[in-house]
Amino acid sequence: MRNAFVKQLVKQASANKNIILLTADLGYTVFEDYQKKLPKQFCNVGVAEANMIGIATGLALSGKTVLAYSIASFATLKTVEQIRNDTCVHNAHVIIVGSGSGFSYSNSGPTHHTLEDLAIMRTLPNLTIFSPADPQEAKWCLAQALKLKTPVYIRLGKKGEPNLYSKKPKLVLGKPGIIKQGKDYLVITTGNIAYNCLLAEKILEEKGLKGTILSMHTIKPVNTKVLGNFLKKYRHIITVEEHTLLGGLGSIISETIVDLKLKNCELKKIGVPDTFTFVSGDIKYIRDLYGLSPEKIADTILKELKK
C-alpha cells in the first residue's frame, strides 16, 4: 500500500511542482526514488515532528501543497496541537501521511503502535481523514487529498497489502467502498485489517454464509445517509478495526445507529480494548491476541449470527 502510494505521489508531484514532501527523517527505502527525481520538492526536516507540521502549515499558507510524513503515531500524537492550531484552524492544505498504522510495527511496542489516531483526529474541525484498505484505495485517497485544498490525514498500512476489490472500484469520498456483497451479515472495516475481514468471509462462505464487507476509506466526513441505507438492510453488523474501541470506526457506526434511530440492528465491535500492548510479536500474533485474525473474526461473526 505504501509503495503504491509513493509511486502515485511521484507521478502527481512530477506534474505539479507546487507539491512538496516533508519527512521527519523517516521513509528508508520509501522516498529514494522521489528524492532522486524531485530533489527540490523534498525536505527532510529532521527528527522534529511538531516542527514539521508548523513548517508544513507555513508552506501551505504561502501557497504550497504539502505532504508531511512520519510513522502514524509520531505524525498524529506528538503533533496534535500543531495539527489543530496550525493546520486545521487555518484550513491549510497540509496532507499528513501516517505510515505503519495499527500494529504494523507490532514488535516495536506501544510507542510505535498507532491505535488512538482516528479517535483523536476525527474531533478536529476541517480535517478530512482517509484510511485506505488496499493499494487502489491508497492511490485514490492521495488523488482526493491533493484535490481538496484543505487539511487531510491519510492513515496508511505499511507494505505488502494486496488489492481487495475484484474489479476497479468506483470510490466516492464519504461513502463506503463495497469489497464484497452478501446477505447474511454486514462487516464494516477500515484500513489494512480489511484483508483479514475478506479472509474471514471466505471461512464463513465455506459454511454457507455470505456477508457484505464495506471499507470505510473515508473516516471523516461520513455520508450518513448512504451508510444508514446499508445499516438498515442488516440485522447483524460487525465493525472491525485495528484501533482502540474508543472513538474509532465502531464508535462512528454506534453514533450513526443512534443518530438515525435504527432499532433492528445488532452491533458487535471488534477492535483493541482500552489497554497498551507490552507483549511483542509479529503482526499476525498481535492481531490474533485481539481477535483480529481471520479465524477469530470469523468465529465472532458466527457467534453473532447464532444469537
Partner: protein, 262 residues
C-alpha cells in the same frame, strides 16, 4: 514615532480597561517593535492584506493581541471602531488573534507555534528566490517550549536569511521572573551556536530597532533579542510580572494614561 507609540499604548490601556482584560504589560512592552515594523520596515499593503508581495509578521506571543490590533487598525487593515469591541461578546478581536482578522497572518495563543510556521513561510520564499522577509515575535519565556528550538535548528540548517526572529526579552513570565523559573542565559550565545546572526538591542528604542531591522542578513537567519520593559510606559506596571494577569480599575486606568503622557 514616539507619539505614535504613546497613542498606541493609550489605546491598549483603554481597551484593557473597558473590557477588564489582562495581558496589559505584555502588550505595552512590544509596542515599539510593532510600530517600527509596520511604519518603517515591512512591505505591506493594508488595502490588500493578502498581497502576494507583502512581508509577513507573526505575533507568536498571541497574548499581546491588543497591541497588534491597535497597530493594524491604525494602518487601516480594518475600521478602528472595531477596537471598541475588543474582548466583548460577539467580537472577532479576542485576547489572542484569530485567523480571518485582516492583517493577522497566524492565529496564535499556545506558545511555540509561530516560529515553526514562520520557518515554513521563509522556506517557501527561499525556494521561490524572493526578497520577502518573514518577521516573527516571540516572548523570551516562549523559548522554554521545545518546538522553538526545533525551528531554530531548522532555520540554521537551511540558512533562512529572510527570517527575522524578534524576542521580547523582558525577563518576565506568567508566574515570576524567567531566571527563577527556567533561566535562559546565556541567551545570545545559544542562538549564535545554532547558526544565527544574533544581536541584543534596546527593544523599546525606536532608533535602535529601526537601525537593526533595516539591515538584511547575507546568509543566516537573524535573531534580535529585544531588551524590553514589561509594562513599558506605566511606571507601576514596569517589570512587575503580576501585570501579566492583573486588570485595571478606574483609578489605575486614569493614572496609567497620565503616566504614558508624562
Amino acid at each position: 514615532m514616539k507619539n505614535k507609540a504613546k497613542e498606541i499604548r493609550k489605546q491598549i490601556l483603554k481597551m484593557a480597561y473597558e473590557s477588564n482584560s489582562a495581558h496589559i504589560s505584555s502588550s505595552l512592552c512590544v509596542v515599539d517593535i510593532l510600530t517600527v515594523l509596520y511604519w518603517d520596515i515591512m512591505k505591506i499593503n493594508p488595502k490588500h492584506p493578502n498581497d502576494k508581495n507583502r512581508d509577513r509578521f507573526i505575533l507568536s506571543k498571541g497574548h499581546a493581541a491588543a497591541a497588534l490590533y491597535t497597530v493594524l487598525a491604525d494602518k487601516h487593515y480594518f475600521d478602528s471602531k472595531l477596537l471598541q469591541t475588543y474582548n466583548k461578546n460577539g467580537t472577532l478581536l479576542g485576547d489572542h488573534p484569530i485567523y480571518g482578522i485582516p492583517g493577522v497572518e497566524l492565529a496564535t495563543g499556545s506558545l511555540g507555534h509561530g516560529l515553526p510556521v514562520a520557518c515554513g513561510m521563509a522556506l517557501n520564499e527561499k525556494l521561490l528566490n524572493t526578497k520577502k522577509r518573514i518577521f516573527v515575535l516571540i516572548s523570551d519565556a516562549e523559548c522554554q517550549e521545545g518546538s522553538v528550538w526545533e525551528a531554530i535548528l531548522f532555520a540554521g540548517q537551511h540558512k533562512l536569511k529572510n527570517l527575522v526572529l524578534l524576542i521580547d526579552y523582558n525577563k518576565l513570565q506568567a508566574l515570576g521572573k524567567t531566571k527563577d523559573i527556567i533561566d535562559l542565559e546565556p541567551f545570545k550565545e545559544k542562538f549564535q551556536v545554532f547558526g544565527w546572526n544574533t544581536q541584543i538591542i534596546d527593544g523599546n528604542s525606536v532608533q535602535e530597532l529601526k537601525k537593526t531591522l533595516a539591515s538584511r542578513s547575507i546568509s543566516k537567519p537573524t535573531a534580535i533579542i529585544c531588551r524590553t520593559i514589561g509594562g513599558k510606559g506605566v511606571e507601576f506596571m514596569e517589570n512587575d510580572w503580576q501585570w501579566h494577569y492583573k486588570n485595571l480599575d478606574k483609578n489605575l486606568y486614569e493614572l496609567a494614561v497620565k503616566l504614558i503622557d508624562k
